[in-house]
């Protein structure tokens, strides 16, 4: 399928993050800040994904519930999703023309 590229990126990013110790509030804050930055950039490109929004919300919810392992994992996933959407928006700046009916 055509969606393989961003998805592959996403996979690569999510797989690369297993951590040995339990995550802390500080870990979460760092991960969340990074995710939020990518999230804002994607919004600026007017290419936010619904899954980014829901995953970021899930991160926040997990942190509020004190589950920092899950919160950090979700935040990283949200960051990966946001970055994939940024990648998509950037590459589509020219790529769309290939689709055009002429």
């Amino acid at each position: 399928m055509k969606r393989s590229l961003p998805l592959a990126m996403l996979l690569a990013l999510t797989v690369a993050l297993p951590s040995a110790r339990a995550a802390t509030d500080a870990d979460f804050k760092a991960a969340y800040a990074a995710a939020e930055a990518a999230f804002k950039e994607a919004a600026g490109l007017r290419n936010q994904w619904t899954t980014t929004v829901s995953t970021l919300a899930a991160a926040k919810k997990a942190a509020d519930g004190g589950d920092f392992d899950r919160a950090v994992a979700s935040a990283k996933e949200a960051e990966a999703l946001a970055k994939a959407s940024i990648f998509q928006a950037t590459s589509e700046k020219e790529a769309w023309k290939a689709m055009e009916i002429r």
């Binding site: 007017r46 290419n47 936010q48 994904w49 619904t50 980014t52 009916i101």
Partner: protein
């Protein structure tokens, strides 16, 4: 058909566009040719579906699938948009608190003009859709605007479309580089992949019309807006052009833009322009 007039107008626009864009988009300058775009767009569908009558594309998935066509024809005996249409007619005739009405805001009292929307407003320098014009009419007369996605807005546009049924879509591209830019931006939006599914509007409605995606038979992009607004069984209710764009975005897992965002206005302009000559069929009924 208004081909000739459009071609004349179009070539003037192209000449101007070449000037306007020469500085920044040298490569693209020779490509921005809405008349040629519209012709190519229509030919693509006419050739891909040689058995579909040209004026039938505006019936969306029903032009593509015999079994569904029969279900549709049965529904059309007493169409599900009937209530919205009646409500729209009543609302359209009811005066605002200041005594004026919708008829005062539109050419020809708002009757039989759907085919001219959206249009490019040279004062504002932007595309104005029928839905936008209706809400501006309300606000100019001291009334609160309606939600863009359903109910009242769908009823009003249903009535206005109904009075214009059969009239060929007739979108003008004025001699204004901003109009050309809006057209181009709409085209870009139409072909740009977005959302986690990595679909563009064209992925479904150009490459796969007539095919099923999950349960739905996809409508061809050509003439897709001529049927608006629509009663969708899936929604159990009416929806506007705005609602259609928003749900398309959500389905590809893209966060929708706000109704009547510039991109939506522009893509409506593009899609309507390339459907010039095809009849208005709205309000429509869809699965």
């Amino acid at each position: 058909m208004k081909r000739r007039a459009t071609i004349l107008l179009g070539s003037a626009v192209v000449a101007l566009a070449a000037l306007a864009f020469a500085a920044t988009r040298v490569v693209a300058a020779n490509k921005i040719d809405p008349v040629a775009d519209a012709k190519a767009f229509q030919n693509f569908f006419f050739q891909k579906f040689p058995n579909v009558k040209r004026e039938d594309f505006v019936n969306g998935p029903y032009s593509m699938n015999e079994d569904m066509r029969r279900q549709w024809q049965e529904k059309e005996e007493f169409p599900p948009y009937e209530f919205a249409l009646d409500a729209g007619k009543e609302m359209f005739a009811a005066p605002f608190k200041n005594g004026k009405g919708y008829a005062d805001c539109f050419p020809n009292g708002g009757i039989g003009i759907r085919q001219n929307y959206p249009y490019f407003d040279e004062k504002e320098g932007k595309v104005v859709t029928l839905e936008l014009a209706l809400n501006r009419c309300r606000e100019a007369n001291g009334e609160a605007p309606y939600s863009y996605v359903k109910d009242e807005m769908a009823s009003l546009t249903a009535y206005m479309a109904f009075t214009s049924r059969g009239k060929p879509m007739d979108i003008k591209l004025p001699d204004d580089p901003r109009a050309l830019a809006a057209f181009e931006n709409g085209k870009r939006y139409f072909y740009t992949r977005r959302g986690q599914m990595n679909f563009s509007c064209a992925s479904c409605h150009v490459q796969s019309p007539g095919e099923r995606i999950r349960a739905e038979v996809l409508a061809p992009a050509l003439g897709i807006l001529n049927a608006m607004p629509i009663y969708r069984s899936e929604w159990s209710g009416m929806g506007t052009t705005s609602r259609r764009f928003i749900t398309c975005n959500s389905q590809t897992r893209a966060v929708p833009l706000e109704p009547q965002a510039d991109e939506y206005r522009d893509v409506e302009y593009f899609l309507s322009y390339v459907a010039n000559g095809l009849p208005i069929s709205g309000p429509g009924a869809r699965p």
